[in-house]
Amino acid sequence: MRKPSIVSLVLAFIPFCGLCFSVPIWDRLNPHVLGLPFNMFWILAWVSATPVLMSIAFRIEKRR
């Protein structure tokens, strides 16, 4: 099978950094954002950003 492009793999890796490896940095309560503890707000923000990143990766993969 054809391997995916480097750019898509980098795009895909960004949420892994934001949501997984960086957990000691964002797993705290303050500052609260929109009434949510910081860790919950952080996760929801990244969850919303992930489809955007992956649609860019989708375009890149489609063009190849």
Partner: protein, 486 residues
């Protein structure tokens, strides 16, 4: 009408409507194995999304995560994270897998292993292991069903009869309508689940605290440290979080993911689906909010899995409890149906046929699969009645096991040098290491998910064995097919 009877009749009403949708879906279609197991490879983007969401967002989404945030706190956030990151991996695995399935006519995960590595034995081994993990996952759904009906009926219906009735209904519509029927039940389930999530996630905090922000403030004051990791636990800290997320995001290793991919009309549909899926985390977050509220609304419960429904019972009139219970019941029944279907196809096609009658036709396999439906349902029901593990504990166990299929899938799709022998040795190593750690109560092992430790051993063995015993030219048919086709 007593509150319990009212709630119960609404639950049954919803389950009835859902089941009818399931039964009707199969009408006028010739139900051969291809249609039953993978809907004739004809589903478009919306139906694939609903099927995939249906099998990913299970009763565990409703009861398990609200139960965990209630009893364990912060570590629960791993669920939102692994489901999101898991979709990213499916983005890359899904389309090539679909392509392989179309070219080789594969219907199950074990078919994939059998064709790719040219080994019926490996396929059979994968099928058997897959069935075991599916039954664990199935047990989770059945247990949830029992809890939902029991709590929603104000304990007037026992858990065991509730589990019995619901699983019989599930098995019936799997038998009659196959995967297409499940998709249509899932449509109703998705609408209800999103509605329920918004209802409980906003109204429970509002009714008891005046808002979500005020609710969090109250919980943080009452239980300092509960909402960050390790929360109420001692060993579920950040290294556990990272390793568990990495292990569980290998969602593509579930046998029913393969079935889901093969139902799609094209690989692009599968990929689009993985882009949209993280949006489903938002209703899931609302259910976590409701679980947080339950910490103060329904304090002192021994079994956290009861937290959400108890808080709902203290907040809403019985008929809403019924709607929520009905949504919860469908949320258990849809994945249960997918899991029963997948496990029975694996058992009939990849275990029974090679062992007992290699000359079986597809129609014969279909008949054996239907017998397997009954057997698997009965086993899961028996285990649910006699098991006491909490929902999340069961799920973590199954994910640790199923993740061991990852090297065989990823390397199978993208590498030409990996061998059947390497994959089989790796799989046995990974499963043994994980099994020993889990059953000697060493999970997490010094803060790291036991499944991930098993997976690292697994990968090392796969690479080692594949390098020491490379493919001989006459044995490399499967891989050369890959090269020319890719």
């Amino acid at each position: 009408m007593s509150p319990g009877a009212l709630a119960l009749s609404i639950i049954f009403g919803i389950v009835f409507v859902g089941s009818c949708a399931g039964f009707l879906a199969a009408k006028k279609r010739q139900l051969n194995l291809e249609e039953w197991a993978v809907a004739g490879r004809g589903l478009g983007v919306i139906l694939v999304w609903i099927l995939m969401a249906g099998e990913t967002f299970t009763a565990f989404s409703v009861l398990g995560i609200s139960g965990w945030i209630y009893s364990k706190g912060g570590p629960t956030l791993y669920v939102l994270v692994y489901l999101t990151l898991g979709q990213i991996l499916c983005f890359f695995i899904g389309p090539p897998l679909w392509e392989f399935g179309r070219r080789h006519g594969t219907q199950t995960m074990a078919d994939f292993f059998g064709r790719r590595y040219g080994s019926t034995f490996l396929a059979g081994f994968v099928a058997l292991a897959g069935v075991v993990f599916l039954v664990v996952y199935l047990q989770l759904q059945v247990t949830s069903l029992g809890i939902i009906v029991n709590v929603a009926s104000f304990e007037s219906v026992g858990r065991t009869p509730a589990m019995f009735v619901a699983t019989v209904v599930v098995a019936a519509f799997v038998l009659v309508s196959g995967v297409r029927g499940i998709v249509w039940v899932s449509v109703l389930k998705d609408f209800l689940l999103v509605f329920v999530a918004f209802l409980v996630g906003t109204w429970i905090p509002y009714a008891h605290f005046g808002g979500i922000g005020a609710m969090f403030a109250a919980v943080e004051q009452a239980k300092p440290g509960h909402l960050t990791m390790p929360g109420a636990t001692t060993n579920y800290g950040h290294s556990w979080f990272i390793s568990t997320v990495l292990m569980n995001c290998l969602m593509f290793t579930w046998p029913h993911f393969f079935g889901g991919v093969f139902t799609a009309k094209s690989g692009e549909i599968v990929r689009k689906n993985t882009i949209l899926m993280p949006l489903y985390m938002l209703p899931l977050a609302l259910i976590i909010f409701a679980g947080c509220a339950a910490i103060l609304v329904a304090p002192g419960l021994k079994n956290g899995d009861l937290a959400l429904l108890t808080a709902v019972r203290k907040t809403f009139p019985p008929w809403i409890l019924g709607v929520i219970g009905g949504a919860g019941a469908l949320t258990a029944m849809v994945p249960a149906a997918v899991q029963i279907l997948t496990a029975s196809t694996l058992l009939a096609k990849n275990v029974y046929r090679p062992l007992f009658s290699p000359a079986m036709s597809e129609d014969d396999i279909g008949r054996v699969a239907r017998v397997a439906v009954v057997v698997i349902t009965a086993v899961a029901l028996y285990l649910s009645v006699h098991s006491s593990t909490t929902l999340v504990g069961l799920l973590l166990l199954a994910y640790s096991g199923v993740g061991q299929f990852a090297p065989g899938i990823v390397l199978g799709l993208f590498s030409t040098r990996v061998t059947a022998r390497g994959i089989l040795c790796g799989l046995v190593t990974g499963l043994s290491v994980t099994g020993v750690l889990v059953f000697t109560h060493n999970d997490p092992v010094s803060g790291i998910n036991a499944g991930l430790v098993g997976l690292l051993a697994n990968i090392a063995v796969v690479v080692g064995v594949s390098l020491v015993f490379p493919l001989r030219p006459e044995n490399s048919m499967a891989s050369s097919a890959e090269q020319t086709g890719g």
